[in-house]
């Protein structure tokens, strides 16, 4: 994609500029992936309490039928993404790297929606509470990858009034283009979704933040939002991790989320553009979240593509549809290369938060061992949270977790910028994760 002529506005300090490689798929219109023969639908696709299965083996289900019931407020129901028969209940590989409970549905090929879906063209006249219930019932979670149940974000405590909603279309993660394509292809729906969000939160200011390296998306969204003066499309600087909530809020609203705080502390709610589209579908057509845009990319697949794929589609199927792995494919990542998670098996399914599958060939995989920290300070410059990752690394390496905590370990959101720039190849993110785990263990 051509470098942009769109003028980007404010940004944060720090950050890195990895090669984005988005040209692999950015111009490719989305294709609908085949309905998976067997959809593996994990019962936990979000942050919070896992759902409880409400189906039994052999049960016939329709597309959109609820198969996992919420087990708490911070939770989101799970729905069947295909129509067919439940053939297995058990632990299956999950992108987090472990086996967790999932429902396997064998498709009957009919792809029938469940009956009783209520279409509602006058959705904007519904009350905020009704809208929120629709969102909650549709099992919508943050689709940028955080997978935080959306209705929870939409229920801020009274003492924290919200006055700004931001849609996150920054897509700063290299390689991924699913949000980009979504913005081009479903711009109207996204704007409508934003309006619904604004209505739920009773907010009059809505922004759509897009990195300025996607001028076509900016144009499409601006066009879609033309009739809605309350919605503004906001180009932001191209820099990783511009799409992180706190960084985006800084760039667009000019507000700084306090350390350890949440966006709502400064009156902001951020949602992914994909989430907005899902919300629109849920509210307008009553359809639960059963499919999403997934980019399958990287030089490890033969034909990188953008897919509209059902939740539960195994990675192996999407990769096959993208021409299959190349001979040198060495690493399959769920998500982008910065924050995504590498997979040991292709049996893992697409879940609600899967924005892409990146396959790296051997020569792009860094297998060097790490060396001692030479204190070059690159990580300090790169850290968007203004932490000192070098010190975090040194402390954690030696097992001084408490000292790491004193160096603001808990403010790290593991964007990987430090590890990306480290000349000594030190695995800071790995250590931060480890330290957080150890500290949590100590607490219990």
């Amino acid at each position: 994609m051509e470098a942009t002529t769109v003028k980007a506005k404010d940004t944060f300090s720090g950050g890195v500029h990895p090669a984005d490689n988005k040209q692999l798929t950015a111009h490719k219109p989305t294709v609908t992936a085949a309905i998976p023969k067997r959809a593996i639908i994990p019962l936990s696709q979000h942050i919070g309490a896992p759902t409880k299965s409400i189906v039994v083996i052999g049960q016939e289900v329709k597309k959109g039928e609820k198969i996992g019931e919420t087990a708490g407020f911070v939770s989101a129901p799970v729905h069947a993404s295909v129509s067919g028969k439940v053939v297995a209940l058990g632990n299956f590989p999950h992108i987090l790297g472990m086996d967790i409970p999932a429902v396997v549905i064998e498709s009957d090929g009919k792809d029938e929606w469940i009956g009783g879906l209520k279409e509602n063209p006058g959705y904007l006249t519904l009350s905020p509470d009704e809208l929120k219930k629709l969102v909650a019932d549709a099992g919508i979670v943050g689709m940028g990858g955080a997978t935080f149940p959306t209705h929870v974000k939409l229920s801020p405590p009274k003492e924290k009034p919200i006055d700004v909603v931001i849609l996150n279309g920054a897509e700063c993660e290299p390689y991924l283009t699913s949000d980009h394509r979504l913005m081009l292809e479903k711009s109207k729906e996204i704007v409508e979704g934003l309006k619904i969000l604004m209505r739920i939160l009773n907010v009059s200011k809505g922004y759509i933040g897009i990195e300025s390296n996607k001028p076509d998306a900016i144009e499409a969204m601006t066009k879609a939002a033309a009739g809605s003066p309350e919605v503004k499309v906001w180009p932001v600087k191209v820099k990783y991790p511009q799409g992180a909530e706190k960084m985006l809020i800084k760039a667009i609203a000019g507000r700084t989320v306090p350390a350890g705080g949440l966006p709502m502390d400064v009156g902001v709610v951020v949602q992914n553009v994909g989430t907005a589209e899902a919300i629109y579908n849920a509210v307008r057509y009553g359809r639960p979240l059963v499919e999403r845009y997934v980019t399958v990319t990287g030089r490890g697949v033969r034909e990188p593509k953008n897919f509209l794929a059902r939740i539960g589609t195994p990675f192996s199927q999407l990769i096959e549809e993208a021409g299959g792995l190349t001979d040198t494919a060495a690493k399959v990542i769920s998500g982008g290369p910065m924050m995504g998670m590498s997979q040991y098996t292709l049996d893992v399914p697409v879940i609600k938060g899967t924005s892409g599958i990146t396959v790296l060939p051997k020569n792009e995989v860094n297998t060097n061992s790490y060396g001692p920290c030479i204190r070059c300070g690159r990580c300090i410059d790169a850290c968007p949270m203004k932490l000192q990752p070098s010190y975090l690394g040194l402390y954690i390496e030696k097992g001084h977790y408490e000292d790491a905590k004193a160096y603001n370990l808990m403010d790290c959101f593991e964007c990987g910028s430090c590890t990306f720039v480290c000349p000594a190849n030190r695995p800071m993110v790995h250590w931060v994760k480890k330290a957080k785990k150890e500290l949590a263990k100590k607490k219990n």
Binding site: I40, V87, A88, L89, G90, N91, G97, V104, K246, T256, P258, A259, D265, P314, S316, I319, E320, A330, K331, V332, I333, P337, M338, M339, G340, S342, Q343, Y344, T345, L346, D347, T358, L360, V365, N366, G371, P372, C373, I374, R375, C376, G377, R378, I380, P384, M385, K386, S390, D411, G416, T419, F420, V421, P423, A424, N425, P427, V429, H430, K433
Partner: protein
């Protein structure tokens, strides 16, 4: 419950699993070290041009001893031997550039051994040393062999110069006999500046050619291997303070240009004060580091017993680097506001 193999890819490829990020910048420690070493090549060549064979010998002994000491120490400590990372090579080269050409060869030997074994490996090796190893090596031999280390030879133009004439460095002449004597030797200020710039003067190998050093420094700045935060405040402070206090006829009569181009300032400011390991890593602390090092240099040059203060200034600031880093830690994103909220 066992997971039945319901879905199976045609063949499961062997996949590499690791924790992200899965992309990496092209930089590496070795690349940085070798590039910095490379940036010192012009200065090394100039020193060979001016001091001939003895300079070659000093450089060679430093490099060989440093590498051997590194390998030996790592072998002794049962650590992997990492000569290829270039850090020992760089230390050796920097040390060589800090020695006079006429130094008997045991001096580069002792200096390198001290630099690598004591200043570097006793403290845990690369990344952990508190003081710049090359400067420790130099300070050690300076104190141990004070006389030899403060005797310099004039540049020669024949390669195999064996009995070069000893002479004082411009800074020593300036300190002990005043600017008038310097002008007597060089006739005009312009000629003096020119000789300083090109490197036609007595001094340590790397002290001589400002032009060659600046060339290397510009390359490193361009590659962003070093930043302006340390060297520019360092040199500027020296310039300003020597202008104010450096003159014999009262305040504001000093010659900043002369001071900025003399001694090891350019070498020290761009290549040694910028050492990642022994300097502060927070940007604001780096500026303070540079200013303080500059002030200490001037203090030692004008008031101290030694004619040249760059080495001591950097070593002294090395002591303070952890303190500076600690005191000037950047404020975490959103930290100040967090305090406000609590109130």
């Amino acid at each position: 419950m066992e997971a039945p193999a319901l879905v199976q890819a045609k063949e499961q490829p062997k996949l590499i699993v690791s924790i992200g990020p899965h992309m990496h910048d092209e930089e590496s420690t070795a690349k940085i070290m070798w590039t910095v070493s490379g940036a010192l090549i012009p200065a090394s060549l100039m020193s060979v041009y001016y001091f001939g064979m003895p300079a070659v010998m000093v450089i060679l002994v430093c490099l060989v001893t440093s590498l051997l000491a590194e390998a030996g120490m790592q072998w002794l400590l049962k650590k992997p031997i990492t000569l290829s990372d270039g850090s020992a090579f760089l230390t050796g080269l920097l040390l060589a550039l800090n020695l006079p050409a006429n130094a008997p060869l045991y001096i580069p030997f002792v200096g390198s051994v001290v630099a690598i074994m004591i200043a570097k490996h006793l403290f845990g090796g690369l990344g952990y040393n508190i003081f710049n190893p090359a400067l420790v090596g130099r300070a050690f031999v300076l104190v141990s062999f004070a006389k030899i280390m403060t005797t310099f030879v004039a540049p020669v133009t024949t390669f195999m110069a064996l009995d070069a004439k000893t002479t004082a460095t411009p800074l020593v002449i300036l300190k002990e006999e005043g600017i008038a004597r310097l002008l007597e030797i060089y006739h005009t200020k312009a000629a003096l500046y020119q000789d300083l710039f090109v490197g036609n003067r007595a001094g340590s190998l790397g002290e001589t050619s400002v032009a060659a050093l600046l060339l290397g420094a510009a390359f490193l700045l361009m590659k962003r291997y070093i930043t302006w935060h340390v060297p520019i405040p360092f040199i500027a402070t020296v310039g300003i303070l020597t202008w104010i206090f450096g003159g014999h006829d009262g305040l504001m009569t000093g010659d900043p240009l002369l001071h900025m181009m003399s001694g090891g300032l350019i070498l020290g400011a761009f290549f040694m004060a910028t050492d990642y390991v022994t300097g502060p890593s927070v940007r604001s602390a780096q500026i303070v580091f540079g200013i303080c090092a500059g002030a200490l240099t001037v203090l030692i040059r004008l008031k101290g017993g030694y004619p040249e203060g760059v080495m001591f200034a950097i070593l002294l600031m090395n002591c303070f680097a952890p303190l500076l880093d600690r005191a000037m830690r950047s404020r975490v994103f959103g930290k100040a506001e967090a305090k406000g909220v609590k109130k």
